[in-house]
């Protein structure tokens, strides 16, 4: 029965949220494309520095790793994108537990329902990552590969950062693997938080958490790890991949356990 429930939950959640996936795709593609065109028109930057890590890798463009200076710039656009996640998952459970979720719990039990729901949210996070990469590919195709590479001069002019070549493995780990794990963690934790506190309160708490992450480079603020999915520059001195992934795993397992206990004890009235 558990397998049936998981398959059914994942399948139906994907079908029911197809418009959310589509809107996320549009949101990512349009904002990043818009940013690229804006920078191009203004003549102040290159097309490669905003959110094109994935396309760089997928299309085999040379990769670079940058050390950031201490300047703090609030990445408002990226924060808005991150806030899309709690917005997406905010009503996921709230809505279900007032209706069809109760029927599913009656048919399968609280524990099974939670396992199925958690799995479905996990799969949902992976789909959103896939959509992100898809939008990156589309942008790269639209903009043409040549435009992705910035000259050292433009880069220095634009950001004041110096550019260093780094090992390709490090690049993959830092800009793809770690932020993807952090993305899943963020997604799952947002879901659990909204289940417990309600969508509005959890949205506010996550907003504060993300903004705080801009000012404190700590693996506990996973928004920083997520940033690496966006930008080709990062401060490798500030983020440790082992610490980050370890904290991500703790948060995922903790989120599962907290949600499980909450669902187990919750009065569904």
């Amino acid at each position: 029965m558990l397998i049936n429930l998981i398959v059914s939950e994942v399948k139906h959640d994907i079908l029911r949220h197809k418009w959310r996936y589509f809107s996320f795709f549009l949101f990512m593609t349009i904002t990043i494309l818009g940013k690229c065109f804006y920078m191009s028109e203004a003549g102040i930057g290159d097309f490669g520095i905003f959110g094109l890590n994935a396309s760089n890798i997928l299309l085999g463009i040379p990769r670079y790793v940058f050390y950031a200076d201490n300047q703090i710039v609030v990445p408002a656009g990226w924060i808005v994108m991150l806030l899309f996640i709690p917005f997406i998952v905010g009503d996921w459970c709230e809505y279900e537990l007032c209706g069809i979720g109760v029927y599913k719990i009656l048919l399968s039990g609280r524990k099974n329902w939670w396992i199925a729901k958690f799995t479905s949210v996990f799969v949902g996070a992976i789909i959103y990552i896939a959509i992100y990469f898809l939008s990156q590919i589309l942008i790269t195709i639209i903009l043409n590969g040549d435009l992705i590479e910035a000259s050292d001069d433009i880069w220095l002019y634009n950001s004041g950062y110096s550019r260093m070549l780094s090992e390709i493995t490090t690049f993959y780990l830092y800009t793809i693997a770690m932020p993807c794990v952090s993305f899943i963690t963020f997604f799952v934790c947002s879901f659990v938080l909204s289940l417990i506190c309600g969508s509005v309160k959890s949205f506010m708490m996550i907003t504060i958490y993300i903004v705080l992450g801009v000012f404190y480079t700590s693996p506990y603020f996973i928004g920083n790890q997520l940033m690496l999915l966006r930008s080709t520059h990062f401060d490798s001195q500030g983020i440790d991949i082992i610490d980050s992934i370890f904290i991500d795993l703790i948060l995922i397992i903790g989120g599962y356990a907290i949600g499980r206990s909450y669902i187990h004890n919750k009065d569904l009235i």
């Binding site: 029965m1 009656l106 048919l107 004890n265 569904l268």
Partner: protein, 211 residues
């Protein structure tokens, strides 16, 4: 089939909702719950369904303690207040979605139960477009489709027209076979008298008598 309430007490936000309930429900009978609004009828049903954990006391389903030996009764169908389904699916698709979890009944059986409660099983309209009465019928169909051993129906004839009431009454009467326990809460005294073998009177969270 047997459900036993052993000194069940439930308190929510400091307010007692169920007070020292001691009662045994036996299979093959329809029990009617009668009482004023807020007297604890819905809470009693939710506690049987495993949706609400008692603060004190035990609920035994076939001698197995709920929340301890079992999480949820093995075979239960519930019509909850204002049943909510996936609004973007048709009635049939909603039931199919639920039926796929246990995979015990066929599509034909789902269609049959829909027709039985007075819904058209071929209706392609999505639930968002359903009237209140149609949603109520769908809720009843969801509760009874897998022929559960315990059926809890909270205000089953709410929002139904006359022919709907007759169909639902017939469905409930048909459920009596197979040693099922059926518990119905209803404000309509006549309908409750007609349906029930035993009427349980409730007031302020207590069972005060039976007829």
């Amino acid at each position: 089939m047997e459900i036993e309430f052993d000194n069940v007490y439930k308190c929510i936000a400091g307010k007692p909702i169920l007070k020292d309930i001691n009662y045994k429900f036996f299979g093959g009978k329809i029990y009617g719950l009668r009482g004023k609004n807020g007297c604890g009828k819905t809470m009693l049903m939710r506690s049987i369904a495993g949706l609400m954990k008692p603060t004190n006391g035990r609920i035994l389903i076939n001698k197995k303690e709920l929340y301890k030996d079992i999480e949820i009764p093995d075979s239960i169908g519930v019509l909850i207040e204002n049943p909510a389904f996936l609004p973007e699916y048709s009635g049939f698709k909603n039931l199919k979605y639920l039926a796929d979890i246990k995979n015990q009944i066929t599509e034909e059986e789902i269609r049959c139960v829909l027709n039985k409660v007075g819904l058209d099983s071929n209706d392609k309209r999505i639930v968002r477009k359903y009237s209140l009465g149609m949603k109520q019928k769908l809720g009843i169909a969801a509760a009874i489709m897998e022929k559960p051993s315990i059926v809890l129906l909270d205000e089953p004839i709410n929002a139904l027209d006359e022919s709907g009431v007759e169909k639902v009454k017939k469905c409930i009467m048909d459920l009596k076979e197979d040693n099922r326990i059926i518990i119905v809460a209803c404000h309509d005294r006549d309908e409750l008298n007609y349906l029930s073998d035993t009427i349980i009177l409730m007031s302020e969270g207590k069972i005060i008598g039976e007829e």
